[in-house]
């Protein structure tokens, strides 16, 4: 849902009042407010920050376009919070077709996962997925951030052994199929990336 408010020519605090009204009327979506002076721009930006909204600002021909985005937190569609979700990662790239693109997508995936307010209960790596948990991993910083927020990071010991990577594990614990199955079966929602 997207709403646009043209607040050019309006005196303070009208732009803020109209923006607030529009934000209050939506659960999630975006509100674009157009203003014609720096003071109004700053005041609408403050409103966005106070309401924990995302904000992008662009200037065109001396007018400011402020896009405020509101979301209601990341939840799986059936309402299970991310905190009860576990991920099983069976590959070091995301998707099939091109590995260079797959590596880019995997980095984006973990960036987005760790940036959320709510993080998953566990992320478990098997097969070539364990390459993501070793010292040369392109997503190591993201895994550290997830771990710091309480996500359990587990890597299959057999897989680390197979690839000769046991000594290079850089995050989380070495695990086994019993633990992995227990986490999958006990999860609110289990997601496999393979």
């Amino acid at each position: 849902m997207s709403t646009e408010i043209d607040a050019r020519g309006l005196a303070c605090p009208q732009p803020v009042i109209q923006a607030k009204k529009a934000l209050d009327s939506i659960e999630q979506g975006s509100v674009t407010v157009i203003v014609d002076n720096a003071v109004a721009k700053e005041n609408v930006a403050k409103l966005a920050r106070a309401n924990r909204c995302g904000l992008s600002i662009e200037e065109k021909d001396g007018h400011f376009y402020l896009r405020l985005t509101k979301d209601s937190g990341r939840q799986t569609p059936d309402g299970i919070p991310a905190a009860r979700t576990v991920y099983l990662i069976a590959k070091n790239t995301l998707g099939h077709g091109n590995d260079e693109l797959g590596a880019v997508l995997m980095k984006s995936f973990f960036f987005t996962l760790q940036a959320g307010d709510s993080v998953p209960a566990a992320v478990m790596f098997i097969n070539a997925g364990v390459e993501l948990a070793v010292d040369s991993s392109p997503v190591l910083d993201h895994l550290k951030a997830l771990s710091a927020k309480g996500t359990e990071i587990m890597s299959c010991g057999t897989c680390l052994d197979y690839f000769g990577l046991k000594e290079r594990l850089a995050i989380g614990e070495i695990s086994n199929m019993y633990d992995i199955l227990a986490r999958l079966e006990g999860a609110g929602k289990a997601i496999t990336l393979s």
Binding site: A48, L101, F111
Partner: protein, 90 residues
């Protein structure tokens, strides 16, 4: 983790974004790839975060290599507010 990054660079295509990441990392410029934030509505889904202290050097590297970026934004400490600073002019 990402608070040190106060600039965001978008690209005209994912190919340019991938090239830029490799080039800048090769020059020792610290960058972080990320999907285009929802706050910014542009076509290419891949952006790079970088630090303002390295902005000029990064843009010079990209210019020399012919990498086409799209827009440069400032990014506040919340990581959710972006203000456009410049557009690519070739």
């Amino acid at each position: 983790m990402t608070r040190q990054y106060d600039r965001l660079l978008s690209f005209v295509s994912v190919h340019h974004a991938i090239r830029a990441e490799k080039l800048l990392a090769g020059e020792g410029i610290k960058v972080m790839p990320l999907p285009t934030p929802r706050e910014i509505a542009i076509s290419c889904g891949q952006c790079l975060l970088l630090r303002s202290g390295e902005e000029a050097r990064a843009l010079a590297v990209l210019k020399t290599a012919g990498v086409e970026w799209s827009k440069l934004y400032s990014r506040d400490e919340t990581g959710r507010a972006y203000e456009k600073l410049a557009e690519y002019e070739g």
